[in-house]
């Protein structure tokens, strides 16, 4: 029982770490590259405009899709590793 508890706690901790990492990327591409950091990226041009515009209208959506699949895949491995899957 105590072992189960510590295993569960470790699983939850690993999950929280993964969520934090993913949300940092999530915020960085949308609020960062697409909005606040756009002036800094103005030098990098993409098809007639700048990288920030690409992130705002295309890049962030692609990263979001990648993030969800990455998270789902990692969590499946965590579920297995800790024996907490279904």
């Amino acid at each position: 029982m105590a072992d189960d508890k510590s295993k569960a706690a470790a699983y939850w901790k690993a999950n929280l770490r993964l969520i934090t990492g993913c949300l940092i990327v999530w915020a960085l591409v949308s609020y960062g590259c697409a909005i606040l950091l756009r002036p800094l990226l103005a030098g990098i041009s993409v098809g007639g405009t700048d990288l920030g515009f690409w992130f705002a209208q295309q890049g962030s959506i692609l990263v979001f899709i990648g993030l969800i699949f990455f998270y789902a895949w990692k969590m499946n491995r965590l579920d297995k590793k800790f024996g907490l899957g279904e």
């Binding site: 569960a8 699983y11 939850w12 999950n15 969520i19 993913c22 949300l23 999530w26 949308s30 609020y31 697409a34 909005i35 606040l36 756009r38 002036p39 993409v46 098809g47 007639g48 405009t49 700048d50 920030g52 515009f53 690409w54 705002a56 209208q57 295309q58 962030s60 959506i61 692609l62 979001f64 899709i65 993030l67 969800i68 699949f69 998270y71 789902a72 969590m75 499946n76 579920d79 024996g83 907490l84 899957g85 279904e86």
Partner: protein
């Protein structure tokens, strides 16, 4: 075949499919009705979420908004997709593990409080009902333009179809019709976009075309677009916005609002396993992304097409935009699609300088030196997508497809919202509070009756839209962001938040957000009751009423945390409940209690 006959064929054909699915997927139990039996495959569910989520606003209006605001409207693109990251990481798997039927049920159980559940029911009904009005109105526009019936008749036809498959099939019928509706809407959206992209950039893939060269001028499409719009006094299409704080908060409000909308969350209860909830969020965003990556391409290309239709000399490589701007087309020579849409009043022309030509430019700019006395052509944002096939001279069947697609987008979202409303009434209000002893058969009947009532109310409001129809999006997202999302998230990620904290948090987030919206938009949206004009100079710290949901959410978190810290811990069994939703093991199917 006449265009009208083609439209009837496409719309009628798609409706026949939906009705066929409804008969095939009749709900036999409350489990079927609320969660489609709980056995939906994650890819199927992803597709259904796509249709559930992409409303008349996404299909009909979004590209038009982006076309006129350019970079500034990226908020909608990021906000309405980024919310799925929050759903996948913070809510969907845990709520699926919880394994009940509705969102208020989780809030009621987790915060061991009937009042909390009722607050959630009220938030859900207000958010969903305001949202559904927009769908019915969108369906009305599509009907009146393509089927030559008046909007009221169109709405009643649409309501009967929705009634048929949602009352009969509940979530089960809605799931499979949404899959069909997704296919109809994505095909309808993509085909004209591919043709326009080919025509303008020689690239058949619109999202790539957006960053390719414009074939007529050889310049990159977006630089070309910047040149032509600035020649007409508009801001550059790709120009940075000044108020970055507001843009960040607006995007954040849309993201957490998306994650907190009950009709979307409910769809995650239909999959068999916790892992499937995570996968279906990913698939949902793939299917949504197909439209959301196409929309900005459609937007910029349609804007360029519109300008070069009025000023044909601007299309090729241009040395002197002054001269090109001096030579717009004569009103008498306008293309057919402008004539068609003039009839609906969504394009209007007023020859202010009486030269018989069309001057289209930024009304705020002064071009009196060119002999222009004001912008003469008003084009509603809502027509860009619907008019796309006509602008690109595509065959009649594509027009019919667009009509069916617009209706699919509006009706699939309406059905999801109506289900969220009816299950909150039959499951949370009737079974949860008024008559807990109701039999399953009785509850199923109650669900069907409340669904019928919700359809009648939504249709009535669609026919007689309250004056605030345009503002409702702000309200729905504001409520979901400020009240539901934080309560759900804290319920999962904190064991310490108790009933008092959750209720205080939800109410303060909700009241704060509503008051801020009402101060600028009018109390309860009654015209002329606003205390301050809704202009940037009046906004606190430059935060618009559309962006306030994010601030309301932060307030909700802070109040809930503070109140909980000064009051007692939740009882042990609640802490165990929180513990159990965190681990997928033993999820089983969604169950009634």
């Amino acid at each position: 075949m006449s265009q009208f006959a083609i439209n009837v064929l496409f719309v009628g054909g798609s409706f026949a499919i939906y009705i066929g699915i409804a008969i095939w997927a009749k709900a036999g139990s409350t489990r079927d009705f609320y969660v489609a039996g709980g056995g939906v495959h994650p890819i199927t569910n992803g597709m259904a979420i796509g249709a559930d989520w992409m409303s008349a606003a996404s299909f009909i209006s979004m590209a038009g908004i982006i076309a006129s605001a350019g970079y500034g409207a990226s908020t909608f693109l990021m906000g309405w997709t980024g919310g799925y990251v929050l759903l996948a990481l913070l809510l969907a798997p845990y709520l699926r593990k919880f394994g009940k039927f509705t969102v208020p049920e989780f809030i009621g159980d987790r915060f061991y409080s009937k009042p909390a559940r009722m607050v959630a029911v009220v938030c859900l009904i207000v958010a969903s009902l305001t949202y559904v009005i927009g769908q019915m109105a969108g369906a009305g526009v599509a009907f009146s333009r393509f089927l030559e019936v008046d909007a009221t008749t169109g709405l009643i036809i649409a309501a009967i179809v929705v009634f048929f498959y949602s009352v009969l099939g509940g979530m089960k019928g809605i799931t499979y019709t949404q899959v069909a509706q997704y296919i109809v809407l994505i095909v309808a959206y993509t085909i004209p976009a591919v043709f326009i992209s080919l025509e303008l950039t020689d690239n058949p893939i619109p999202p790539l075309g957006l960053f390719s060269d414009h074939s007529a001028s050889g310049e990159p499409l977006l630089s070309k677009l910047n040149e032509v719009v600035t020649a007409l006094g508009f801001n550059e299409y790709t120009a940075m916005v000044d108020n970055k704080l507001n843009m960040v908060l607006f995007t954040l409000s849309l993201m957490i609002g998306t994650a907190g909308l009950p009709h979307v969350i409910m769809r995650f209860f239909t999959v068999p396993k916790v892992a499937d909830a995570r996968w279906s969020a990913g698939w949902a965003l793939v299917f949504i992304g197909l439209l959301y990556l196409t929309a900005p391409a459609v937007a910029s290309m349609a804007r360029l097409n519109l300008v070069t239709t009025i000023y044909p000399d601007m299309a090729a490589q241009v040395q002197n935009y002054e001269d090109a701007a001096a030579n717009p087309i004569a009103y008498a020579d306008r293309p057919d699609w402008i004539r068609t849409w003039e009839e609906t009043g969504l394009i209007t022309f007023d020859d202010k300088n009486n030269d018989g030509r069309i001057q289209l430019y930024n009304n705020a700019a002064d071009f009196s030196d060119r002999g222009w006395q004001g912008n003469e052509l008003e084009v509603s944002n809502d027509i860009l997508v619907l008019a796309n096939p006509e602008i690109a001279n595509l065959p009649g069947w594509v027009v019919g497809l667009i009509a069916a697609g617009g209706l699919a987008a509006a009706l699939s979202t309406a059905a999801g919202l109506l289900l969220a409303i009816s299950s909150a009434i039959s499951h949370d209000l009737i079974k949860g509070a008024i008559n807990p002893k109701i039999t399953e058969k009785g509850e199923l009947r109650a669900a069907r009756i409340s669904m019928s009532v919700a359809i009648v109310v939504a249709t009535y409001l669609g026919v007689n839209p309250p004056g605030f129809a345009a503002q409702v999006v702000a309200l729905a997202f504001g409520i979901a962001a400020a009240s539901l999302f934080p309560a759900l998230m804290m319920g999962i990620f904190s064991k310490r938040i108790n009933n008092k904290g959750a209720i205080a948090g939800m109410l303060s987030g909700l009241v704060f957000t509503l008051v801020y919206i009402f101060v600028y938009k009018g109390w309860f949206f009654i015209p002329d009751t606003n205390n301050l004009a809704d202009v940037e100079a009046n906004w606190v710290l430059g935060i618009s009423p559309l962006s306030i949901g994010a601030v309301g959410a932060i307030l909700n978190f802070v109040v809930a945390y503070l109140v909980s810290s000064f009051t007692e811990e939740p009882p042990q069994e609640i802490q165990d409940l929180v513990e159990s939703v965190r681990y997928p093991k033993g999820a089983g199917v969604a169950i009634d209690h």
